[in-house]
Amino acid sequence: MRGWFAALLGVATAAALTFLTLPIVAIFVDTSPARLVDSLGEEGTAEALWLSLRTTVLALAIIVAAGTPVAWLLASRRFPGRALAVTLVELPLVLPPAVAGIALLAALGPEGILGGPLADLGVRLPLTTAAVVTALTFVASPFYVRQAQAAFAAVDPALVDASRTLGASEARTFLRVVVPTAAPGLAAGGALALGRALGEFGATLMFAGSLQGVTQTAPLAIYDRFATDFDAALALSAVLVGVSGGILLAVKLVRGGEVLGHARA
């Protein structure tokens, strides 16, 4: 009786692993290392990667700076409407990217809710690099905040109490005790947000457009080349697979696999 169930698990796992890895293997089978290097030298490819890197790191900095206090508040306080706040923070996680793009235009575009006030300030966001960063920040922030909130909630309350009893303020306790203790979780959340931001496509195209060196990030460059230069699209895809795989590996090293159980990314 035990035998058939184990066999079933084995078959299911083998099927799942093959199905999930075959498309990724195909990217590397379809392109040779030499062609890959060639394509990377092409005009616009390196530029797209560099733009992706810049905008992603900037978005991550904003997410960490703004998201860390939010995560601590949500993890350490009980207040009316907390469940709603948690849900709202997580909402972009389940929004289709196209919806995120439309929503950003409707809110921050020239015809949007804040379009008038922004225009008065001389700010016109769409079709700029800042719009890319805005889109990345919007879609990727829940990945960090969720993880940070879980990491903060897991900090032993006795540690916090001890720090407070010894006379440290909440701010000091937060910076000297809570953040260092939760650091692995925060790093994992940051890495997941980084991965999501790096792969962002739909919201960026709708809100920021696509212009080489300004708004055309690596995923947009892949789409742009799909019809005209499949090899270049493959090469760029291979690089993104490498970078994203590296991020995932880093997360696993930091958290020893625990993160994959938590994140529903």
Binding site: F19, S210, V214
Partner: protein, 243 residues
């Protein structure tokens, strides 16, 4: 094993597809309005439409996607695919004109305004028909003016609807689109002088090796004269050359 999963997905998706016998037509994004209208008529065969940039649809066909009909916003892509044996002989079925489109409350009133510093221009990316036509127009402005106009390009969109969307939302100040799109989206359209106007012709063909070759050929013929020709004319498309 992967093939089994993919087949399973195809079967599962097929169960939700209420119309597996419909004729699948891959058409340029700029044909959306006109073709949607005539596809909804009660005539047989039923038609399932998918729209994208002509170049993207061509790339899909080259990678093995098999719609029954391919309709592009130029003649170059269908001709190429026909030479590669992927399409039957293409037929030109409509013409169109390029216009300079702006948001309804836009500040662009003439071609000269495109050279204004800080203006935001959205155009089609290279390789997609609207992008190639647009580059033709801009090149005809002369090298100096062309440089200044191109310096104002803020987005290169994968298809016409990307440009129209950016204009409708006021994200861009101006863009080159087909006359038929500008009208349908409520944009302000400035006609181009004849000396700048490129020759915009649409061609379609049946895809080779599908199960519905007869119906596909009939649909293509109907684009020129018959089922969809009327819808194309009332959407503002011109008749094919030589008619």
């Amino acid at each position: 094993m992967v093939a089994a999963i993919a087949t399973g997905a195809a079967i599962a998706a097929g169960c939700g597809d209420d119309d597996p016998d419909a004729l699948v037509v891959s058409a340029a994004a700029s044909l959306r309005g006109a073709l949607t209208e005539c596809a909804n008529s009660e005539q047989e065969p039923r038609i399932r439409l998918q729209f994208a940039g002509s170049d993207e649809l061509a790339a899909q066909i080259r990678k093995g996607v098999r719609p029954d009909v391919y309709a592009a916003a130029n003649t170059r892509l269908p001709d190429q695919l026909a030479r590669e044996g992927l399409l039957e002989r293409p037929a030109t079925f409509a013409t169109n004109r390029l216009v300079l489109a702006t948001p309804p409350r836009g500040t662009v009133d003439a071609l000269e305004d495109l050279e204004r510093a800080g203006l935001r221009l959205a155009i089609g990316s290279e390789g997609v028909p609207i992008g190639d036509y647009t580059r033709e127009v801009i090149a005809r402005l002369g090298a100096r003016r062309a440089r200044r106009v191109l310096a104002n390009v803020r987005s290169e969109e994968p298809d016409v609807k990307g440009i129209v969307g950016k204009l409708a939302q006021g994200a861009a100040d101006a863009g080159f689109v087909y006359r038929t799109d500008a009208g349908a989206a409520g944009l302000r359209a400035l006609p181009l002088p004849d000396r700048l106007q490129p020759e915009v012709a649409y061609a379609a063909a049946a895809v080779t090796g599908t199960d519905a070759a007869e119906e596909a050929r009939a649909f293509v013929a109907g684009l020129r004269r018959g089922r969809c020709a009327g819808a194309l004319r009332s959407a503002g498309f011109g008749p094919p050359p030589g008619r």
